[in-house]
């Protein structure tokens, strides 16, 4: 009698539990709310990884969307960050395009790119072109010296890389950490390459770090700030940054190093396994098209990579040895590390 009753009761409790659970499900189901929006069709989509700053990629991608009717999703990040992501995704990436990043970096990851030859290929500056078209160059970024016009006379400003080592610049050079900033490493690498007839890597780095006096700017952007504000007399930076600052009315002037102005271009590439291959090709054509290249020099303070554009010509241009820069990276940075450490210790 009692057992039966307990059984019935257990069933009742089970029923109650079931009912309650059902109600909870009902409740949570009510919380779901579908937006019911249609996503753009696959043939109208493109996913772009970019290492560019927003002010560069936004207008270009916006214009691309406008003209092609293709929806673009942008994932922005640092050059190494994006390239490492592409490597880790290894062809399974949802991304179609790597837009931006120095060609030296792109070359290092060329295995992850799909070769593509643009219609403008013949007109592109061949100096830094990918031998097997893994990437396509996009814009040139000359490395220049800047000086504060209030503190330095035009005649006294450094003209060559060697002059940067002169004693009067000790503690007066604005420079960023090459371990963090890509453009700073490029500059340091140019310096070493430029001096390697007279000095070993170690000697060159030692002499340069002595003039930096252990004081570094926070990043490539702050270099120009530091010079413009008068905190430093001279600096080494990219032409683009300097031009922008100058256009904003800062008291700075640029110098293109004599016989040794290196303009390492950045580029774009189609990622292997791109899901929207056709759109990716359209995008590659777009970034080397007249309008975009024109916009670069006209509005974005950059130089075109198209030989038929006047801005692609740089006086005193010296070819930057990408291979050397890549192979000696460890050595240069090691020297940097040890000598910067010394100067810092001296400071203390």
């Amino acid at each position: 009698m009692i057992t039966r009753w307990q059984k019935q009761n257990r069933r009742k409790i089970g029923l109650t539990g079931l009912l309650f659970a059902g109600l909870l499900v009902l409740l949570s189901a009510c919380a779901q709310n579908e937006s019911g929006e249609e996503t753009p069709a696959a043939e109208n989509r493109l996913v772009v990884y970019t290492a560019h700053k927003e002010e560069i990629y936004k207008p270009i991608i916006r214009e691309f969307e406008e003209r092609s009717g293709i929806w673009v999703d942008v994932v922005a990040g640092g050059t190494n960050e994006m390239l490492q992501q592409i490597a880790s995704e290894n062809g399974q990436s949802g991304a179609d395009i790597m837009f931006g990043g120095g060609v030296d970096s792109l070359q290092a990851y060329e295995a992850y790119f799909e070769p593509y030859v643009t219609a403008q290929d013949e007109k592109l500056d061949p100096a830094y072109a990918s031998p097997d078209h893994a990437y396509t160059v996009f814009s040139k970024l000359p490395t220049v010296f800047v000086y504060n016009t209030k503190l330095v006379l035009p005649s006294g400003a450094p003209r060559t890389w060697q002059q940067l080592l002169e004693y009067q610049w000790e503690g007066n050079i604005a420079f960023a950490d090459p371990e963090k900033s890509g453009s700073a490493y490029t500059a340091l690498s140019i310096l070493v390459q430029r001096l390697n007839r007279e000095k070993t890597t170690e000697e060159a780095v030692a002499a340069f770090t002595k003039n930096l006096a252990g004081d570094l700017s926070d990043g490539s952007n702050t270099i120009v700030e530091d010079v413009a504000s008068g905190k430093k007399m001279i600096g080494i930076t990219l032409e683009e940054t300097a031009l922008k600052k100058k256009a904003a009315g800062a008291d700075i002037e640029m110098i293109y190093p004599r016989q040794a102005t290196c303009a390492v271009p950045d580029g774009g590439a189609i990622i292997k396994g791109a899901a929207h291959r056709e759109n990716a090709e359209k995008f590659m054509e777009f970034i080397v098209s007249d309008d975009v290249q024109h916009l670069l020099e006209d509005q974005l303070y950059r130089r075109s990579v198209r030989t038929d554009f006047s801005s692609s010509e740089i006086a005193d241009e010296m070819r930057y040895d990408i291979a050397y820069s890549n192979t000696h990276r460890e050595e240069i940075l090691q020297a940097w590390d040890s000598y910067m450490g010394q100067t810092k210790r001296k400071d203390e």
């Binding site: 009742k12 109650t16 009510c30 937006s35 929006e37 989509r45 214009e63 999703d73």
Partner: protein, 578 residues
């Protein structure tokens, strides 16, 4: 029993209470939620519609101004004018067209020549920067010269704080001679939309590719525009901000999307709280069920308990127990029935014990009468043999008859066949006839089929004795007739005499069975008592005087035969054991 009953009550109440509570609670919660969502959707849809209306009104007005500027000859002719007077005139026209009552703080209107150089501007301290004609708004305006283009200005080069450009190309003789651009700033959009979102919701204006044009401050903080863009692009819900619901509206003619986000009033935390309250109520219901079950079960149990207690007393033999319940319900009825039952039982048991007492009394009397029966029997046997040896046949008959009567009386049998009982009477009559010197005669008429009827032993002898000793004591020709017959399934034994009869007092006393007054007729009384104890009050003795003189004593007995006797024997033995 008591425990399980209470638990059963408790669970029944709990079940009902919980089901009702949970059902109504859950339905209430979901109803409130759905109502809230519905209201929100309605309100948001209304807000979005209002937003579209105000924007459309503003765009329409701006469009009108652009058209006005385009159609103004002074302005179009001043594009390449260097004469400051002409420029001033053009400005005059421009301001009078641009500043209207609708747009008190109007959009900035600029006029560009065909190369993208800014010629006129209504903005204060304008840099008059040129715009590339191969790019963006001017290119598009050139491609669609017949209409006013609306363009997301956020990512246009040199767009400053412009959010939207509205532009149209000036066409003269099928060639583009310049452009008119209305520059609608973030601030302007904020001013237009402020009243609608009222600062309480997030609002975003997106272009046809769901790229950001304008975000309210709160929407900008969480970068809602890019969240929505990714959501649209990948069609996923994963980026959906918790506690926010978004409603969208498209303005297809302008290629714009309006999105309004509402913080869910019915947030998860509120829902959690409601569910918590529901659980708390369920806890309350649990407690209430427990209390009610306790009260109700004790109300039900207390009469049952006192009934059980009363029954216990009854079991122990106390039949005076009375519950005296005054309850009007079924329990009261039960208690009253119980009271009636115990009363009836009490009466029965008392009667029963009285009967038992009487039976014991007669047994004791019989035992006393049977004192030393074996000695008497043996002595009688000796007398018989001595009488035979001395040829005194009367003495032999006397002693042998007496011995037979004695044997019958000391035998353990309580019941004997009627034939035996009749022979016993015959022995007795033999003795009495010798004693009374044949002053009476005796006849017995027994039908054969009734000879095996079982009767209590020694019930006829006392009656015959009574007839001989009292009825016939003064008569010389006494006659006793014993007639046996069956009537209405009863065994009737009539014992008639032709003696002096009984006086009426005696008859009455006899028939009323008044023991006190029957002292002198103990035999008579005993026979009656024995019959009634064995067979109940419907059987027994009756006596009446006969018209022709004498008395007829009638013995009424049930007709029972040997097979029926077994149980009677046992009953008798059992009653004897007590």
């Amino acid at each position: 029993m008591k425990r399980s009953f209470k638990t059963e009550l408790f669970f029944s109440f709990l079940f009902i209470a919980l089901i009702t509570l949970l059902l109504s609670g859950s339905f209430l919660i979901s109803a409130v939620q759905q109502k809230t969502e519905y209201d929100y959707e309605k309100k948001s849809a209304q807000q979005l519609q209002e937003a579209e209306e105000v924007l459309e009104r503003f765009f329409g007005k701006t469009e009108q101004i652009i058209k006005g500027i385009l159609n103004d000859k002074r302005i179009t002719e001043s594009l390449h004018e260097t004469d400051s007077w002409a420029v001033k005139k053009a400005y005059n026209r421009l301001f009078s067209l641009a500043v209207t009552e609708v747009t008190r703080d109007p959009a900035v209107f600029r006029v560009y020549d065909e190369s993208g150089r800014c010629v006129l501007s209504t903005a204060e301290a304008d840099q008059m920067e040129s715009l590339p004609v191969y790019w963006g708004i001017l290119k598009e305006a050139m491609t669609h010269p017949d209409q006013v283009i609306l363009h997301n200005a956020t990512y246009e080069v040199n767009s400053k704080d412009a959010a939207i450009y509205m532009a149209q190309a000036m066409v003269s003789d099928d060639s583009c001679i310049g452009f008119v651009i209305a520059d609608i700033s973030d601030r302007k959009l904020e001013e237009i939309l402020k009243e609608i979102h009222a600062g309480e919701s997030e609002m975003v204006v997106l272009d046809e590719f769901w790229e950001e044009i304008y975000s309210t401050e709160t929407a900008g903080q969480i970068d809602l525009a890019s969240v929505l863009h990714r959501q649209k692009f990948y069609g996923t819900q994963e980026t959906r901000k918790e506690d926010f619901t978004y409603y969208t509206r498209e303005i297809p003619d302008r290629g714009l999307h309006l999105v309004i986000g509402k913080r869910d009033v019915f947030s998860d935390s509120l829902k959690r709280t409601m569910v918590l309250v529901l659980f708390a109520l369920a806890g309350g219901a649990l407690l209430l069920s427990f209390i009610v079950a306790r009260i109700l079960s004790s109300r039900l149990m207390s009469p049952l308990e006192s009934l059980t207690e009363a029954m216990g007393k009854v079991r122990e033999g106390d039949l005076s127990v009375q519950m005296n319940s005054s309850r009007p319900d079924e329990f009261g009825q039960l208690a009253r029935d119980f009271d009636d039952m115990t009363k009836a039982l009490d009466v029965y048991v008392k009667l029963r014990s009285k009967q038992q007492q009487e039976l014991s009394d007669s047994n004791i009397a019989m035992m006393q009468a049977q004192l030393n029966p074996h000695f008497l029997y043996n002595t009688l046997d000796s007398i018989k043999w001595i009488a035979k040896a001395n040829h005194v046949p009367e003495l032999a008959t006397l002693s042998s008859s007496l011995a037979k009567i004695l044997r019958a009386s000391i035998s353990a049998d309580i019941f004997v066949p009627l034939s035996d009982e009749i022979s016993l009477v015959n022995y007795y009559v033999d003795i009495q006839r010798i004693r009374f010197s044949d002053k009476f005669s005796f006849d017995a008429e027994v039908p054969m089929e009734l000879e095996d009827v079982i009767v209590p032993k020694l019930i006829l002898q006392p009656i015959v004795e009574n007839a001989i000793v009292h009825g016939l004591k003064d008569r010389e020709d006494g006659y006793i007739f014993l007639n046996v017959y069956e009537q209405d399934k009863r065994l009737i034994i009539d014992v008639e005499d032709n003696g002096c009869g009984m006086d009426e007092d005696m008859l009455q006393t006899l028939n009323e069975r008044d023991r006190e007054k029957l002292k002198g007729h103990i035999g008579f009384y005993n026979v009656d008592t024995i019959i009634r104890l064995h067979y109940g009050l419907n059987y027994g003795l009756h006596a009446r005087n006969l018209k022709e003189g004498g008395v007829r004593v009638t013995v009424e007995l049930p007709v029972r035969r040997a097979e029926n006797m077994i149980t009677e024997d046992q009953n008798a033995e059992n009653s004897g054991d007590r």
